[in-house]
Amino acid sequence: MTFDDETLGAYVDGELDQTAIAEIEAAAATDAVLAARIDRARRLKALLGGAFSSVMAEPASERFTCVVAGKAAPASAEIIRFQGKPPVKDKAKSKAPAIARPASSPGWSGAGLGAMAACLAAGVIIGVIAPWKTGEEAALSPSRAVTVALDRQASGPNAGPVRIGLSFKARDGAYCRTFSAGATAGLACREGQAWTVRAAAPAATSADTVYRTAASDTPQAVLDAVDAMIQGAPLDAQAEANARAAGWK
């Protein structure tokens, strides 16, 4: 009796009924070729399962636990402000966006108030911030999609998931750009080789369509942060293209 590959696969996957199982096992007992085919299918399955054991063993990162937990929290209408460059302390508070973000990152299973507070903040910036780095002086880096847009995308309407609002040069000489991605809008500045998110706030939602004019879907809070940092006027299209070509340096 011969069995095709689909049948043997179904046998290894536990998809056959008792009669079919008995037939295959009886045949394999005397058919070395068949037994070897079954063995290969089993080994493949074991190999595939084992290959991702290190991914499975990774502890749940705050990035994901906060995404899940953050939605439970009432949405905050407040702008979330981050510490910008680590050395900037109290003196910057009045103008530049700066507010302490939760310092610790307790596991969610502890579910203390501290953990939930950390997640409350994270819930608002879903989809924008890459894995949280812990430690008081950690800067915030945007997610990959936002980074790609910040690097390459021109300001203005865009069909993709990320929209860039405007680009400008900050008083400290860094290039900064506003962006919106999903439920979040923000402001990121180029620091060395990377973008750092300086401010973020909930983007205008569909309920706010009246206010989603061509001019801007950037929340007022982010525009205020721009006002506090900008040197001169926003870059025009040519200046922006030049800055992009120069790698935002």
């Binding site: 074991a46 595939l48 991914v55 937990a69 439970a72």
Partner: protein, 166 residues
């Protein structure tokens, strides 16, 4: 957190694994995982209690992958080819042999046509039944089993003859 959220977090390791199979690069896989979690939360009203949460969320991840992340990845890849094998080859987590084996598996999976890769991911890696997988992928059972057979044959040829023994 309520029961739904707790159940979702319990699925996280499996979601991350599926994301690695689909998206290949760790950064994209993590973005895909996050997008899936967000969608699951937004659409939680659509989940019917008593049905399997894992299938429901995996379907969401599959769709998120096809709708959003995959196209983005293709665009990005033109400029930045992926570092092969980087995904599961994180140092310190396994012996060298295991890491090499994991890299070979990732490479072999990435080389499969996507329809076969999805079938292999759902059944051989995730352990879903044929019934569950065919519903989740919106394909007839016969299509699923033939994709599985072709994917399995290709992987066996690549992996079991390449010296990447378990």
């Amino acid at each position: 957190m309520d029961a739904f959220q707790t159940d979702l977090l319990d699925l996280l390791p499996r979601l991350r694994r599926m994301a690695r199979v689909l998206a290949w690069e760790p950064a994209d896989a993590d973005d895909l995982t996050q997008l899936t979690l967000e969608r699951a939360l937004v659409r939680r009203d659509q989940w019917r209690e008593g049905t399997r949460l894992d299938s429901w969320v995996f379907r969401m991840m599959k769709n998120a992958w096809i709708d959003e992340v995959r196209s983005r990845q293709r665009k990005a890849r033109v400029l930045a080819p992926p570092a092969l094998g980087e995904a599961v080859a994180d140092p310190g987590s396994a012996t060298l042999d295991t890491r090499l084996g994991a890299m070979a598996v990732e490479r072999a999976l990435a080389a499969l046509p996507e329809d076969q890769r999805l079938a292999v991911a759902m059944v051989l890696i995730e352990g879903l039944s044929y019934q569950e997988a065919s519903e989740l992928l919106d394909i007839p059972m016969g299509t699923l089993t033939s994709r599985l057979a072709r994917g399995r044959a290709a992987l066996q040829t690549t992996l079991l003859n390449e010296g990447a023994q378990p």
